[in-house]
């Protein structure tokens, strides 16, 4: 199953104010691929994922143009009822803070089985059997006890595993993981990342992994798209991106990450801040913060171009040798 986003353009409308959250997103996630969408807060990562899920409330959201395909199903053209049937069944989602995203007053068992009963028409007992299997898959053995636990009786890492169990219960074809490890400690983070990779292998789900953390993305992704101010500015395989970043934004971002090897040197910084979606600079949205910007960047918006096979970027000066 392949997920393709074509020229997705989304605004938030409030009165006469318009925030241009997504400005033409193009993205393809292949079968069994873990594709990361990296960006800072307000860059449009979460809007993209909620849009795929069909969970953006309209109003205030207006989809200006664009299409989202899951293989040949055009998700955006579906009725609300059909969209609902796809959610949880074909596309599932895991969220950042399991403690908040699990219902505190329902047992884990109920939270897993309800989608099995609803989507697959299973009986309660069959669903519970299946739920036990799923719990084992996500590394929560001793399932019966977990089935009858409430979320607050589980530790943080276990909660996130339970969250993942809920997501994969109906064997979805596609998984969206929205910062699934950000609220977790590093040791737990590693375990959850391993679980997601493991599930990809077992279930061959395509996965859209959303994160602000380049280091996490480095560990998990096959491909990476870098998003800035509602637009993808670079797309490449993981190894390529880390070895030869093209867009000035990705380059600077990589350089600004502190680590032991940069000790004693000054960190590279990106001046200014992420523009808010109501005031996106004309031309290349990154130009006010870009050390390589020239006049053309202020006027003309650069197109996404493929400079090497499978490696594209949107910058007027990519491939000119100007960006050092």
């Amino acid at each position: 199953m392949e997920l393709t986003i074509k020229d997705l353009d989304v605004s938030f409308i409030q009165g006469d104010r318009e925030a241009h959250a997504l400005r033409g997103i193009n993205l393809t996630v292949g079968k069994g691929e873990i594709h990361s969408l990296v960006g800072e807060s307000g860059s449009g990562k979460t809007v993209t994922s909620t849009c795929i899920m069909g969970l953006l409330p309209s109003p205030p959201v207006r989809i200006n143009k664009g299409e989202i395909f899951l293989d040949d199903i055009n998700l955006l053209s579906l009725s609300e009822e059909d969209q609902r049937k796809i959610r949880g069944m074909k596309i599932a989602m895991v969220f950042q803070e399991p403690a908040k995203y699990l219902n505190p007053t329902l047992k884990i068992g109920v939270q897993i089985t309800e989608s099995l009963i609803l989507h697959l028409g299973m009986s309660k007992t069959a669903a519970e059997e299946k739920a036990l299997d799923i719990l084992t898959t996500v590394g929560l053995g001793g399932g019966k006890r977990i089935l009858h636990s409430y979320p607050h009786e589980l530790s943080g890492g276990m909660k996130q595993r339970a969250m993942i169990a809920i997501a994969i219960s109906c064997n979805p074809l596609f998984l969206i993981a929205d910062e699934p490890t950000t609220a977790l400690d590093v040791t737990l983070q590693e375990q959850i990342l391993e679980l997601i990779m493991d599930l990809r292998n077992k279930l061959s789900m395509g996965t859209l992994f959303i994160s602000h953390d380049l280091r996490v993305v480095h560990d998990i992704s096959d491909r990476i798209s870098v998003i800035y101010a509602g637009k993808i500015v670079e797309n490449s395989s993981k190894t390529e991106l880390f070895a030869h970043p093209m867009h000035p934004y990705s380059r600077l971002l990589l350089k600004s990450i502190p680590d032991a090897e940069k000790r004693g040197t000054r960190l590279v910084t990106i001046p200014g801040k992420v523009p808010d979606a109501e005031n996106i600079p004309p031309g290349c949205a990154f130009h006010p913060r870009c050390p390589f910007a020239e006049d053309i960047c202020k006027i003309e918006e650069p197109e996404m171009k493929e400079y090497q096979e499978g490696h594209s970027a949107a910058c007027h000066f990519c491939g000119t040798g100007k960006i050092q």
């Binding site: 800072e40 807060s41 400690d185 590093v186 040791t187 983070q189 590693e190 990342l193 602000h212 953390d213 380049l214 280091r215 996490v216 480095h218 560990d219 600077l252 971002l253 600004s256 990450i257 502190p258 680590d259 032991a260 090897e261 940069k262 000790r263 000054r266 960190l267 590279v268 910084t269 990106i270 001046p271 801040k273 992420v274 913060r289």
Partner: protein
């Protein structure tokens, strides 16, 4: 170099609730921690959430005085001092928290927020405005913006303002509790550079608390790794990075995402504890046999007596 801060067997325990005394089990959030911080250096305290690092910071600042142990500031014991006598030392130690949004009163302009502290320490009234301008300039905020309100600034700018406010007390020690964790990636580097720049301009010592090993290893001179209320490893950054010893440190290194996991961390292999010691409690004598033992010179590792 002289020590600006010394911790001697600092313990902070919390009692449980219950009517029966037996129910009031004591929980040690910080357990027998000792280390020193040298003047003008950056000391990093790393650990996962709940390891006691923030509790320790609060104990050091005597916001929550420790239950046991001593805290010495420039060799003067602070524990046991009266509130009044403590006051001048309180000013010398300032803290910056993780969340700049809640650190600033939303109903007060930046100027008013900063003025409060200066008035409190009887700064000459006539010079207050000038001083605030200086401080804002120092942290990279346009001084003419000082009559604006917190919501008019971005997260990174707010954190700069919080730092400026802390500096208005003319502290010698700045405790930074995850000061960049809530900020965007591209803003984090700005704040870290600012912290380094400030150290170049004023004499400052940092106690930098973080969960981010990469960041701590970039910034700090000496690192203490904390786990379950104890400091389990204490060493100069180069030593701990090249040769992590305690199993917990190794685990932390290997699970750190990014380059950390692949290069430095994974090559770390189990190391034997110093002779006569073990990393886990082998027998329960009822006595606390845990201590920091020298592994190599000033590279200390926490282990139990056999």
């Amino acid at each position: 170099m002289r020590d600006i801060l010394e911790l001697r067997n600092v313990t902070k325990s919390f009692a449980g609730h219950g009517i029966l005394p037996s129910k009031r089990t004591v929980y040690k959030a910080v357990n027998n921690v000792s280390f020193t911080i040298q003047k003008d250096t950056i000391f990093g305290l790393v650990g996962e959430s709940g390891c006691g690092k923030t509790t320790l910071a609060r104990s050091i600042l005597l916001l929550d005085p420790p239950t046991e142990g001593e805290i010495l500031y420039n060799n003067i014991p602070l524990t046991g001092l009266s509130r009044k006598k403590l006051l001048p030392y309180r000013m010398k130690m300032q803290i910056v928290f993780q969340d700049p949004h809640s650190a600033l009163n939303p109903k007060m302009s930046i100027y008013k927020s900063m003025r409060e502290g200066l008035v409190n320490r009887h700064y000459p009234k006539a010079r207050i405005k000038e001083r605030i301008e200086e401080l804002l300039e120092l942290v990279g905020i346009t001084p003419s913006h000082m009559h604006r309100f917190p919501h008019e600034f971005s997260g990174g700018q707010k954190q700069r303002i919080v730092i400026a406010r802390a500096l208005s007390m003319e502290p010698e020690l700045l405790v930074l509790d995850e000061p960049v964790s809530n900020l965007d990636v591209s803003i984090q580097a700005q704040i870290i550079n600012l912290l380094l720049d400030l150290k170049g301009k004023i004499s400052l010592t940092y106690l930098f608390i973080s969960h981010d090993l990469n960041l701590v290893s970039y910034l700090c001179d000496r690192i203490g790794v904390m786990s379950r209320g104890r400091v389990v490893e204490l060493a100069d950054t180069e030593d701990i990075m090249s040769n992590p010893v305690h199993p917990y440190t190794l685990k932390l290194f290997s699970s750190s995402p990014g380059k950390m996991g692949t290069d430095t961390g994974r090559k770390g292999h189990p190391v034997n504890p110093p002779e006569g010691y073990s990393f886990s409690e082998t027998r329960n004598t009822g006595k606390d046999t845990f201590s920091l033992v020298s592994f190599k010179n000033s590279h200390m590792v926490g282990c139990y007596e056999k």
